[in-house]
Symmetry: C2
Subunit: 162 residues, 2 copies
């Protein structure tokens, strides 16, 4: 019989583990060069005063198997918060054991417990297998929006100039 998956909120003791899991995610995506944060940044923003984001850790037989990072967004019309799943990663050796499904279920429970009006995440437009899977979970796709992002020097310029 397969060992059960346990999902629990990350604590301050998990900072090093979370950092390793983020690095594993980045390496898996060939984006390790884009990780410019440090464990202290995670500690500050996840476990300091007024945390901006939250993390959960999935374990099998006590061994870390994956993680997810989420934050609360807000719907102006519902006037309620929502959950936004920013990242979900399962270590390659632990795939096909239902960990992703368990994480989605857990976050849906958090959303209901917190009185959220919705639970959202993003998918690449060309990833049809993922889109089909998410639709099977009851998700609708908001395909006609793009995200605008200002960062670095452009952000500093925007703060100063007309």
């Amino acid at each position: 019989m397969a060992a059960p998956v346990t999902i629990s909120p990350a604590t301050r003791d998990d900072v090093s583990l979370l950092f390793e899991l983020v690095m594993a995610l980045a390496e898996y995506e060939n984006l390790a060069h884009e990780v410019i944060g440090a464990p202290e940044d995670l500690e500050k923003h996840l476990f300091g005063d007024n945390p901006t984001a939250h993390a959960i850790v999935a374990r099998i037989d006590g061994a870390p198997a994956g993680f997810a990072l989420y934050f609360f967004n807000f719907s102006t019309f519902l006037m309620k918060p929502g959950i936004y799943l920013e990242d979900l990663f399962v270590l390659p050796g632990y795939r096909r054991r239902g960990i992703g499904t368990a994480i989605f279920q857990y976050l849906a429970q958090v959303a209901l417990a917190k009185g959220c009006g919705r639970f959202e995440w993003s998918v690449l437009d060309w990833n049809q297998p993922a889109i089909d899977f998410y639709r099977s979970k009851g998700a609708v796709m908001l395909a006609d929006w793009s995200t605008c992002r200002v960062t670095g020097q452009a952000l500093e310029d925007l703060a100063i100039n007309e």
Copy 2:
């Protein structure tokens, strides 16, 4: 000479005003039927303990002219929060006076003051004039992602079922 625009963080005293401005936005978009929140919801989530979202009000000569609502999101790789502008609305009688620009500038300043790595918002794919305007402000478009949203009964099902 045109009266200057002032931008200030909304306070608990602005709850009724904010509700009216959200209704004005919804009516402008012919989506008034989608507003199912109440002023008390805004008060709780914007001005209660651990607020989820934040609002700013633009005024001209002391008269409310527009508002914006934002929250903090999070970049896993930067390990830093970001600002996400959820809604921005300028009352029709106050347009073309630089209020939108003043709001973007104000939020870029908030982003820098809070140590955020980025400032983001969304635009409809077909709204080319808006896209061109945002690009002129230094924004890049993340056009190849869709948002997946689970809500209502589907959210309850996801919390229970595999």
